[in-house]
Structure formats: C-alpha cells, structure tokens
Point group: C2
Amino acid sequence: MNSSDKPVLLISEVGPRDGLQSLKSIMPTAAKKAWIEAEAAAGVREIEVGSFVPPKLLPQLADTAELVAHARNIAGLTVAALVPNLIGARNAIAAGAHKISLPLSVSETHSLKNLRRTHEQVLAEVRAIAELVAGLPADQRPHFEAGLATAFGCTLEGAVPEDQVVRLAASLIEAGCAEVGLSDTTGYANPAQIKRLIRLVRAEVGPERLTGVHLHNTRGLGLANALAALEEGITTLDSSLGGIGGCPFAPGASGNIVTEDLVFMLDSMGVSTGIDLKKLLAVREIVQAALPDEELYGFTPQAGLPLGYERGWGLGTATSSSHSSSLP
Amino acid sequence: MNSSDKPVLLISEVGPRDGLQSLKSIMPTAAKKAWIEAEAAAGVREIEVGSFVPPKLLPQLADTAELVAHARNIAGLTVAALVPNLIGARNAIAAGAHKISLPLSVSETHSLKNLRRTHEQVLAEVRAIAELVAGLPADQRPHFEAGLATAFGCTLEGAVPEDQVVRLAASLIEAGCAEVGLSDTTGYANPAQIKRLIRLVRAEVGPERLTGVHLHNTRGLGLANALAALEEGITTLDSSLGGIGGCPFAPGASGNIVTEDLVFMLDSMGVSTGIDLKKLLAVREIVQAALPDEELYGFTPQAGLPLGYERGWGLGTATSSSHSSSLP
C-alpha cells in the first residue's frame, strides 16, 4: 500500500481505553507506550489512550495523564481521552489531550446507573466543559465531542426512541460540543438502523457535527454496521486491537470491532485508512506479551491475509496475467 | 413476527451439506431428519440436505438419498443437493431433489485439485446434466444451477481474474444451467468486490440468472458481504446453522456464515426471511445433541436477543411510549 495516501477513513483505536477498562489485568505503562507507538508507526492516526476517571474506579487506566503526555510526542497522532465530567476534562486538558470525549447515555436509566447522573446533570457538565475549552488560548483547545451511548438500544430499557437520540444530539451541540458520535454500547444495532439514525441526527445537527460512530460486535454485525456507516459518509470508526475487552463468555463477541478485521475490510475495498495492515497485525505480539492472561480476538489475524494480497483486492485490478506468477 | 409474510430474502441452509462434510463426526440420519424438520418448522424454506458424491469420499453424507426422499415430504420446502457430476445428478433426480447444484471452480488449479477436472471437462458434464434434465417430464425437472467456486480468490492461485468469472458464468448458462451462483469458497471477498462482481456477472448473463451468493466468514466479513449482496438485489443467501464446519483452529472463522446471525441481521432490519428467529435458535439444541464433540458458533446465540426485541428493531417504530413497559 501507499502510505502517503490521505486517509479517507479515520480509524480511532480505542483499545487502550475501552478495551483495557474491561480487563482484570492491568497493563504496565511501558507496554501501553510501546503499543501506542507501534500502532502509530503502523499508520493509526488517532488513539484514545485512556480515561480521566478516578483511579479507584478504573485502576487499569490510572496512568492516563502520563500516556497522554507521552503520546503527544508522536508526530501526526491525535491523542484522545475520555472524560466523564468537568474535573476529568480539566485533567485531560492539563495533560495535553488533543481530543476529549464525554459519554451521555441516551437511556436515562443507563445514565443514572452508569454515571449516576440525569441527562440534565450531564448537559450541565457539558456546558461547563465547553466554557472551560472556550476560555483557553486557541492552540490549547481540545476538540470536544460527546458520544451518545446506548443510541441503538439499551440492556436496561430495551428499544431507545430515535426522537430522544435526535433531541439529545441537538442539546449536546447547543451545550457547546463541537461534535456528537453515535455509540452502539450494547451491540444492538443493525445496518438499517445505523443508516436511519445517522440520517436523522445529521438532519438535525448538520453532517459536519456527526462524523464518527462507535460500534460493537456483540451479535456479529460489527463490520456490516461499519459498512452501513461508511455508505452514509461516516469518516471515523472506533475499533479495538485484538477486540480487547470482549466478554470471556462469548469469545470475540461483546467488545469493540476488531481493528485488524476492520482495516482488512477497508483496505481490501480500496478505502484508504493510512494504515499498513501487515504492520498492524504485528502489533498484536506487543499487546499479547503484555497481557499474557488475556485472549486476543480477530478473524483476519487467525486466518491470515489472502494469498498474494494487496490493497484494493476487490477493485478489479486482477487480470489473467497479473496473478499467474503466484501459481504454485 | 408475522410468518405469513412473503419472504423477500431466501435463506438456503447448507449446514447438512457444507457444514457436515467438514466434520469428523458423522451425524446419525435420524438426527439429520430432526434437524431438517425443525429448521423447516422455524420457517426455513430451502435446505441443501446433502451431496451425491461417493460415500467413500464423504461418509458423512452417505445418507443423502434417504434425506432427500424424507425432506420432500415437508410442505413448502425446497430440497436441494450438491452434485459433482452426471452420475450424482442422476442419483439426485432419482431421489427427487427439487434443486441440484454443481460447483465449478473458477481457479482451474483448484478445479484440478478438488474435482480433478479442467473447466472444459466440468462444462461437458454440465451439458450432459442439462440434457438429462431437459429430457425429463416438466414436473420432474429439478432447478439446475452451478456455483462459481473461488470466485473471489483462491488459496492456490491468489487473485482470480474477474473476466474469467464472467466468462465461465456465460459458459455455464450456455451449457444449460438455469442459474449461476457466486461462492466465496476461501473467505477472500470484501463488500466492494461482492458488489462489483455481481454487477459484472449480471451484465453478462442477466440479473435473473444470478440471484444467490454463498459466503464464508473466514475473515469476519461474512455479514458485511451479505449486506453488500442484499444491496445489489441478491435474493438468496447460503448459511449454516451454528456455523457448522468452521475450522477448529480459528473458532467460528472458516466456515459458512452463521444462519442465526444472518437471520438476526435481516430480521432486525425488517427484511423478511419468513423465519422465526426464536424457533431457529432453538434448533441448535437438536444439532448440538447430535454432535456432542463439535462446537457450534454464532454471536447472536451467545449474546442473546436484545431486550424487548421484535422484528424491524431498527425501523424507527420505537417511540417514547412503546418501550416504557420494558423498563426494569
């Protein structure tokens, strides 16, 4: 592949945050740094390196500030972090995060259980963060976005009304977020729903205010949903190397989309991600070595790349003559 | 769901053939009958019950004639069988198969290795079968189709030229097949390739001569590829209950698309398959009991259906009032 291609699809690696927070194992800081460096070297241009939550709640992510500071030294990398509230945002900004994301759960039941906050309380927090960000010098302002969690359904409430997703998206933009994202927290989404909800939210807040989705592979539809999002013009997709964070009771199932499988799909379709797939696959060794008790997932890593694989595999470049050299 | 809906997407269950032929275990004939009956009762309208190959080659499928005869008694079920050659076709017709499928591997290397035949030899066989079929009384003629194996790439040849797929599709129709199908035998396909190749082949032979695709989930793209095929107007998709036949070295990976996951995707999108998803999920118990040494796969079966799930989950039917009864 030609690594100088401008990526048309940005993969945001969320393994160091969304993946590691679900594991019992705590990855050493040095290993996290090596992971982040190796993925950046493979061409990944955005990594969510951690979460600014109290270390008591998530000891796995206690080193987030150090990781942000370290990752900022990697040229061309957007360093993202999750922030649950104003205090988290202050810490993220102090550490130097380029991008901060705050989750708001569309299911208020889930919001109360997870963040112990009503929608109104979360929106108040968003307003305070937006004010903080606006008060910073222009070159220190992080990109501030909110993720609409449980946007496609909730394990506590079941179906989530679409008008509520749209209304909260508008409220978040009004409260000062630069952008909203749609999160399939529960793995309930299907491709028709992905397309429909993207259209509805974009019609309300404008297409430039919704460019990314966060999908899970809980029911095996992760990549089909990613394809649907791509077809709607979404330009940022979250995923996790090795599907880290997947539920041990459903191997490979409950976590984020596997970055390697997502990149294989896009790369083989000729959709530029800027990522070198072979280098990306090699990053697994670093992560596996640092998490000896955890299982890494992924279909493509297990099956291997197709014989004679090259980017744009499905673009009709194959001719009778071009493949004959690979005959056994 | 409303089981009286006319299905717009036909799922062709291939587990009893493509699944079982890959296993060491031999499923007892009675269990196969129970499986076929249960799937038909769940609304599956086409099942490939076996293959008319010499029992010495595939002892797992030695009872195919008996299964065809039995399955013919199930009202509304299309009974399909694979036939490798004229002898197999004769036996399939004698047993009463409604549909016979002959594989032709686009990769001639694969064809020689797998069927020990050149393309020309396979086409000669197709002509002989077409003649046999044409000579039957109208009410005894099976639907005769050919599957273009390795259409999206070959583990021996690598990339497979698209013009060769198109040319062979035309040759098969010319030789007397009613229809051709595209098979991703190796799990190399991606959604862009699926769309492109369907268009190219249909442009050559006409859309009514290519209505089905056979996809594998080797690299995790099975359902994304199915979505791409659906978007191109494909109306028949092959899949295997429990992903039976998957490679033990890549759990869930190398076999056919899992029927349960495929039905969940379509059902939640509101695409009618005529299948009752809950009844389908229950069929796993029959199959698992008959194959105690084999692992069944599937993300949806492991994760379970979404809370308050109903067909057309993603069609925007959820309103603020309709879900409140499922609040905890």
